[in-house]
Assembly symmetry: C2
Homo-oligomer: 345 residues x 2
DNA sequence: GCGCCTTGTGTGACCGGTCACATTCATGCG
DNA sequence: CGCATGAATGTGACCGGTCACACAAGGCGC
């Protein structure tokens, strides 16, 4: 509440111009760092800006210049650890670059709904980041009109994308390979895989990394068990697997799934890691505190979000930190949930 | 990619006007549903809109009218369950009302940093929701300039806020009371409390609900143990509590904390619920799948987020769904982690 | 037949910036 | 000395909408 008691509307460049005794264009030059402004003039303008508490109106800037300094993140979910961490990373990087961040949730994967969300995002911001880990996200990525800057956060693509397709991803294949190899090296005959839904119809990179490790070790290749994203899916899947006494190692598509798997094994009276070993993906914050604590592969989602923004930023401005996305290396974290198979197996 | 091969810029109301043979003002009237437009004219305009694929430019609308149909959510965190769920609720409600949602993360609680974020939020949108569960949030709520529509998602206030202060909250007092009473009714002599950080210096509603239940039961009132938000804090706190054999029941400020507590008790060789009972707050998605599954009090964060938006929406537009925030009733969910105290205690 | 209100439509200014171009003045060079 | 050049600054239009007001045509009362 200021002394006058009523909120007066903020100062515009013309107010500043009048106060400094120059034209509005000169003010514009000062706030944009244009070189040819006499130092003494610049000084007066800056003083006026300070005095009036002038702040450049973002809306007017966007309308006049076309550039909006805002990005929208389209995602099917905001609460899952991976999604939320990516969002956090994007926000961090965006804030550092003075960009505003908007979010749009893809509640349905239905084409019309997705298209509507993409439209909203398109006319609310100058660039879009799509988290395309699921069908809704994949469709959204496809529905972005050509010409609109967009970066996709995707599953590891099957083939390296051609040239400059602005995608970022983690090395899921390597991650799955590491986890599977770890379990095999403990002596397990093979490793079963409870998969998160794939965003596409093709075999996911996680699945293929898992397969490759099995193949190289000459281990049998069981069918992957398709599941959902949350613990309930893992729980249901593992209740079935638990009946098969030959199952001694289970790799889970993410840590939430692994949580459900642990629970199901417990309910089935099978001890972890005594009888069955379990490994997850992501290294979510709670994984280290489970009992048994969860062996998992740490993925840097926050860094992934930052990369996504950096890439988009590079497209939006010619200032060129367009360093090709450094695919961060997944890191195996061995904890209590994995161990050698039982002696009698 | 359209046939012309180059992206032409979107149609404006003047393009539509030309196509329909009317003035731009008439087009404006049509898209705003103004009554006095001859039906035949309206028809032609609508046809032109359809044909040209006209969409109203949100930026221009905001600049010209002052209203922006956008809200910004200020929060210290986007990944914790409660925060993320509130955000999700806000987004849901906002999307339904055709509002855009921006987020701003309060990375530091330092005054200058908070003020800067609030400023950014202020000039990016017409209204703000602040999640004020922590010092950064509380400061942000205080730093919002008078006159700017804002709604706070806060801890249960000590006294009912005066009149129309636009705040929403859950009934933390009742929730703590329920959980504590539940544990006492199982026969525990008293209940220890591991607290999440309070946003203010005053006693939180959770603490006071817990105290009240103890008092009514004539149970001893141990000092609450101050902790952090995540499992690590609960873990550290419980390692100490575990040494005290008289501790048979622990109430935790949230489910993440409870997870750390469960872990610490396990490491200390104290069984749950055999020797110690544990209860949490929030009913996070993983709580049902822990071993033992967690007794907790379910809070409707998503609904809270929706209420927050509804309130803000009511302030921003005179269309009046300003029904006073229905404080949602917390629901005790009894699971495996709570049971009677050991016989020898 | 006149004034008056209502309905339908158009005109000009404005929101707060940017952009393209014009203007002024001092300087360098042939 | 005259003229081209560049630095410093100003003017007008524009981005795509809204708002306040003007204005023409038609219906109604008297």
């Amino acid at each position: 509440m200021n002394v006058t008691g009523h909120t007066r509307r903020p100062a515009s460049i013309r107010d500043v111009a009048t106060a400094a005794g120059v034209s509005y264009q000169t003010v514009s030059r000062v706030i944009n760092g244009h070189p040819s402004v006499r130092p003494s003039t610049r000084e007066r303008v800056l003083a006026a800006i300070e005095e009036l508490g002038f702040r450049r109106n973002a809306t007017a800037l966007a309308l006049a210049s076309g550039r909006s300094r805002a990005v929208t993140v389209l995602t099917a979910n905001t609460t899952h650890y991976g999604y939320a961490s990516i969002l956090q990373g994007i926000e961090e990087a965006a804030r550092a670059a003075s960009y505003a961040v908007g979010i749009g949730v893809l509640e349905s994967a239905e084409d019309a709904a997705v298209a509507a969300e993409v439209q909203r995002a398109a006319d609310a911001s100058g660039g879009i980041v799509v988290i395309a880990y699921d069908p809704a996200g994949v469709r959204a990525l496809g529905a972005v009109p050509a010409g609109l800057p967009v970066v996709g956060v995707v599953e590891t693509p099957a083939s390296p994308p051609d040239g400059d397709r602005p995608w970022v991803w983690t090395d899921d294949r390597e991650a799955a390979y590491q986890a599977t190899s770890h379990l095999l090296s403990l002596g397990h005959e093979t490793v079963h895989y409870v998969a998160i839904p794939s965003s596409t119809r093709r075999t996911s990179a996680r699945t293929s990394g898992w397969r490759q490790a099995l193949k190289e070790a000459g281990a049998p290749q069981p069918r992957p068990v398709q599941s959902s994203w949350g613990p309930a899916g893992g729980h249901a899947a593992a209740l079935k697997l638990a009946k098969d006494r030959s199952v001694t190692a289970i790799l889970c598509g993410n840590d939430d799934l692994a949580l459900g798997v642990l629970r199901a094994l417990h309910e089935s009276g099978r001890s972890v890691p005594g009888e069955v070993s379990v490994a997850g993906f992501d290294d979510a914050p709670h994984s280290a505190f489970l009992t048994p604590s969860l062996t998992t592969v740490r993925l840097d989602f926050t860094g992934l979000g930052r990369s996504a923004f950096a890439l988009l930023h590079g497209v939006l401005e010619e200032s060129a930190p367009v360093a090709p996305h450094p695919v961060s290396v997944p890191e195996l974290v061995v904890r209590e949930s994995s161990g050698p198979p039982p002696a009698d197996a």
